[in-house]
């Protein structure tokens, strides 16, 4: 077991998305393995971008 224990930590490495047979496969981070329709993948992508922007703002506000 790692020194810091096994409580899941926020991932610092991005997942890798690829297209396969008309679907989007998201591999990682940390064992994530999801297959999505292109539509679901697009919406997920937009949602991730939106949440990432908000999280940046939260982190900036927390540092002030």
């Amino acid at each position: 077991m790692k020194k810091e224990g096994s409580v899941p930590q926020p991932e610092t490495e991005p997942g890798i998305a690829t297209a396969e047979q008309g679907f989007v496969i998201l591999d990682g981070p940390d064992g994530v393995a999801v297959t999505m329709t292109p539509e679901a993948a697009s919406l997920t992508g937009h949602s991730l971008m939106s949440a990432a922007r908000l999280a940046h703002e939260q982190a900036s506000a927390g540092n002030r």
Partner: protein, 244 residues
């Protein structure tokens, strides 16, 4: 003999010929069961134990929408429901994945075997403990490994179990499962499984084609799947068998 693969080549346990003969004599019925057939349902009383003689079987739990989650895969030589001998009921269903042959041993007959051969108690317990170890490995596989790792781990484990059952030479074994079955076992989509199998083949690790699994590089495949066969308590490691 239908019981020849039960606890075959396991480290720390050995069935005496008289014990194996008693188990064999306790069989009341041998059945051929078509693929995709449910043998036991969760919650129903169980009064016999089922030994898988040929084929592949699974244990699974349905969610509220009827979608199933596989929780175990069984290979020849496994009792698929030995834990129901003391529990008398299962909390999951048991079904065939391929056409299978099963031997049925009524619990009353099994009680008689244990009365005559008390050392068999510990040996049946050993079998259920290996089951439990395989469950822990299943949790590790599903919880910690990426898609390629999950498939690599499952194929390495199945190879090691088949070696123990005398059904693999350590590198090659028959596995009459579909890519959809593998997908279900590993919690991936068929699209994903298809790509993972291609990746394993392209990297020279493993080929799964025409119901045959061939481990091209067992050591690297084991490393990719973080697989160590210690929990299976096999007398001989699969890697050692493949070099004979």
């Amino acid at each position: 003999m239908f019981t020849q693969r039960f606890l075959k080549d396991k480290r720390g346990v050995n069935l005496a010929p008289s014990e194996r003969a008693a188990l064999e004599n306790a069989i009341s019925d041998v059945r051929q069961v078509p693929a995709r057939t449910i043998l036991l349902r969760a919650g129903q009383p169980v009064n016999a134990s089922t030994l898988l003689v040929e084929g592949i079987m699974s244990r699974y739990i349905d969610d509220r929408n009827g979608l199933r989650q596989l929780v175990a895969v069984h290979v020849p030589g496994d009792f698929v429901d030995l834990h129901a001998f003391p529990l008398k009921v299962l909390e999951h269903d048991v079904a065939t994945m391929t056409a299978s042959t099963v031997a049925i041993i009524p619990h009353a007959a099994l009680e008689d075997v244990l009365s005559e051969f008390p050392a068999m108690n510990r040996k049946l317990w050993f079998a259920t403990l290996i089951d439990a170890a395989i469950h822990r490995a299943w949790l590790f596989r599903m919880g910690r490994l990426d898609a390629v790792g999950k498939v690599a781990h499952f194929l390495c484990e199945t190879n090691a179990r088949m070696v123990s059952a005398g059904l693999s030479d350590g590198r090659r074994f028959a596995l009459d499962l579909t890519q959809a079955d593998l997908a279900e076992i590993c919690g991936l989509t068929t699209v994903h499984i298809n790509r993972v199998l291609r990746q394993l083949r392209d990297e020279g690790l493993c080929v799964f084609r025409a119901s045959v699994v061939e481990l091209l590089d067992p050591e690297r495949l084991s490393r990719r799947g973080q697989f160590d066969d210690g929990y299976l308590y096999n007398e001989r490691a699969a890697s050692a068998v493949s070099m004979l």
